[in-house]
């Protein structure tokens, strides 16, 4: 059970660093609907953490509880050693960048940024100085006197960020920070945003349902489903070693095979799946028992496509090409096995230098290495 071990090592690592924000057993109910369900999470200082999950899984609700706009039904939120569970939003050293930006339409860009500073009763000179600094940071100096409706979407987003950073909050919350931008601008902005956040040196939790965005921007990702955190780890860890079917399917594409353990040795296991012609060999042991039901997750880029039958071990299957999605740099081959299961294989274009790529209905073989399939027990 290699994946579990690495996960444990990871969370142990996170606990060694002093937690800056602690979410302890937090529950939020709306009537009899549980939006957030006994959730625990620790965030270290200066970390960028992304909450990722499908629509309605409770991401925004969790963020709103951190900001103080919702009160947890039970549980505690501790920031920098202080219990903030029941503080009003305006008493928290936390600022949020809203999904819709929520810029004040009647105030200029500069006034929007100054708004939070004014609430703190800072002297005018200092407010002006800080606003100036923020405008420079987000490169909006030229637009200081414009009203929000006179700005483009990307400019509004930068103002919203500047406004939420101006108070130098202990915690910055971003709810779908780039949700309102089109895809192209979004990709440009992602790294820019990370740079800005790191430049200011602020701890940050962001919500997104775009996995690419989460993987690009965050140091750690939490996968949320039905109000619970299923896995918390680095992007690479989550992708390579998902700990459950939901995560495996949610992050990237994968082929899932249901089956059970038929051979359990210290250094390898064999899994028999009704969807595959022969038992799959996994090159490491797992903690489990013989006969226990498991799932195999096999990433498309791990699957090779050949015309010749692969030699040796059992990690291959025969089938015919049922669909090809040409994506330029690589193609996704949908191979229908004799068992009826369709396996997706992502093959780089460079693979077809010596021979022509297979065509529709051509018989082919799919194969993978011993350690390519990840065993999932839940």
């Amino acid at each position: 059970m290699k994946s579990f071990e690495t996960n444990l090592a990871y969370s142990a690592g996170a606990h060694n660093a002093k937690p800056y924000l602690q979410i302890v057993d937090v529950v939020k109910k709306f009537g009899d609907h549980t939006a957030v369900d006994h959730l625990n999470l620790s965030i270290t200082k200066n970390e960028i953490f992304a909450l990722l999950g499908s629509s309605g899984c409770g991401k925004s609700t969790l963020l709103r509880m951190l900001a103080g706009m919702e009160t947890p039904t039970s549980g505690k939120i501790i920031l920098d050693g202080e219990d903030i569970t029941h503080l009003a939003p305006y008493e928290r050293p936390i600022n949020m960048m809203f999904q819709s930006y929520a810029l004040f339409p009647h105030m200029s860009v500069a006034k929007n940024i100054a708004f939070g500073l004014k609430q703190d009763g800072l002297p005018r000179g200092e407010i002006d100085e800080r606003v100036e600094g923020m405008l420079e940071l987000v490169q909006m100096k030229k637009y200081a006197h414009r009203k929000p409706f006179q700005l483009s979407g990307g400019q509004q987003q930068r103002v919203a960020l500047a406004r939420s950073l101006a108070k130098r909050p202990k915690l910055l919350l971003l709810d779908e920070p780039l949700g309102a931008l089109d895809k192209k601008l979004r990709q440009q902005t992602q790294l820019e945003l990370v740079n800005l956040i790191e430049q200011v040196g602020v701890t940050c939790i962001m919500v997104t349902h775009d996995q690419e965005e989460a993987m690009t921007m965050a140091g750690r990702i939490g996968i949320m489903s039905e109000g619970q955190l299923l896995q918390v780890a680095t992007p690479g860890e989550i992708y390579e070693h998902p700990n459950c079917r939901f995560t495996a399917e949610f992050i990237g594409e994968t082929n899932l095979f249901g089956g059970h353990v038929i051979e359990d040795e210290p250094d390898f296991v064999r899994v028999q799946s009704t969807e595959l012609p022969r038992p799959v060999r996994i090159g490491h042991g797992i903690t489990g028992t013989l006969g226990m039901p498991v799932w195999l997750s096999l990433r498309p880029e791990r699957v090779g496509v050949t015309r010749r039958q692969p030699v040796s071990h059992g990690n291959w299957a025969a089938g015919t090409v049922s669909d090809i999605a040409y994506l330029g740099g690589f193609s996704i081959f949908h191979v229908r096995l004799d068992t009826g299961k369709v396996v997706k294989a992502s093959v780089p274009a460079t693979r077809w230098r010596e021979e022509a790529a297979p065509i529709w209905d051509e018989p082919v073989f799919v194969s993978w290495a011993d350690n390519d399939a990840v065993v999932l027990t839940q």
Binding site: G68, Y90, E91, S164
Partner: protein, 323 residues
């Protein structure tokens, strides 16, 4: 008599509505919406601009015992056109303190009415806008319910309430709060009360439709940035409802300036208001030019500040865009 009285009131309101429309007209003009705007433009031209020009023309003529009772501005004699502009009506208005007092009295009454309507109407509109959606329509219905009965009937009802022998005095007497009936009827106070009553819905409705649009996330953002609720009301809700306040205030103020029926029915004979002056010039003195001049001065009094404020706002926006 009653019919004429009503039609006078109606034309007043139409003029006021026209004034408000012309404001919108100016706003839309530079953006040039072609066909759709043609209808309101046509409407304005036909029912505001043309009548206004008629009145303007009459205001520059002289009284004559004829039908209609004024001398034509342009006459034709010996193959030449003679234009006789008579500024006498206007110099007379500005020279006689009676008119000045009447204008001032009307403006003051309208201003106080607007202010009180705003103070009562804002919290009402705010509460309705914040009420759960299911309740909102019922509450709005309650605001509009009075419109289901005739305006005059409602004013008569107030006369029944405020009269010496009226409901209110009866109530206070029977509660032994007073020994003798209060003289409420035919005072400035009674006019004020009925004016506020009559115009309040015109304040509440535009305020409501503005406040209901207020994005709740803006208030959350304000709180998030450290702003206490009462302060976010002052810095976010109130400024953002500015247009609602302006619309409501204009809907109350403009017709209130020319209000004739309420002071006539529940007011004092001494305190002359401009609506009454107009009536007297027109019907008692049969002096159409004078009545027209009184009207022109009133429209100018209302229109000039409105246009000025509007222009100023436009300029400040344009300046921000240039930066």
């Amino acid at each position: 008599m009653m019919n004429r009285l009503l039609s006078l009131r109606d034309s007043r309101e139409a003029a006021a509505r026209g004034a408000r429309r012309s404001l919108r007209w100016q706003r839309a003009l530079p953006r040039g919406r072609s066909l759709v705007t043609a209808v309101p433009y046509g409407w304005l031209l036909l029912f505001f601009l043309l009548p206004f020009l008629f009145v303007l023309q009459i205001s520059f003529s002289e009284v004559e015992i004829a039908s209609p009772p004024y001398r034509a501005l342009v006459t034709r004699a010996e193959d030449a056109l003679h234009i006789a502009l008579n500024l006498g009506n206007f110099t007379y208005i500005f020279g006689d303190p009676l008119y000045f007092d009447a204008y001032l009295g009307s403006l003051r009454m309208a201003a106080v009415t607007t202010l009180i309507c705003l103070l009562i109407g804002y919290p009402v509109a705010y509460t309705i806008a914040r009420a759960p959606e299911a309740k909102r329509n019922t509450l709005l219905m309650l605001v509009m319910l009075p419109f289901w009965t005739s305006f005059l009937v409602r004013v008569y009802a107030w006369m029944g309430i405020l009269d010496n022998e009226g409901l209110l005095n009866h109530l206070l007497l029977s509660l032994k709060l007073i020994d003798a009936p209060l003289a409420l009827m035919h005072t400035q106070l009674s006019v004020q009360v009925v004016m506020v009553y009559a115009y309040l819905p015109f304040m509440i409705l535009p305020l409501f439709s503005n406040l209901v649009k207020l994005d709740g996330r803006l208030l959350e953002a304000a709180a998030d940035l450290g702003c206490k609720p009462w302060k976010s009301f002052l810095t976010v809700t109130l400024p953002l409802s500015k247009n609602g306040v302006i619309a409501g205030s204009m809907l109350v103020f403009i017709p209130a300036v020319g209000e004739f029926v309420i002071p006539e029915l529940v007011g004092t004979p001494e305190s002359l208001m401009i609506g009454k002056v107009l009536w007297m010039e027109f019907f008692d003195n049969n002096n159409w030019p004078m009545a027209a001049a009184v009207t022109i001065v009133m429209v100018a009094l209302l229109l000039v500040p409105i246009v000025y404020l509007h222009k100023r706002e436009e300029k400040s926006l344009a300046r921000a865009a240039k930066h």
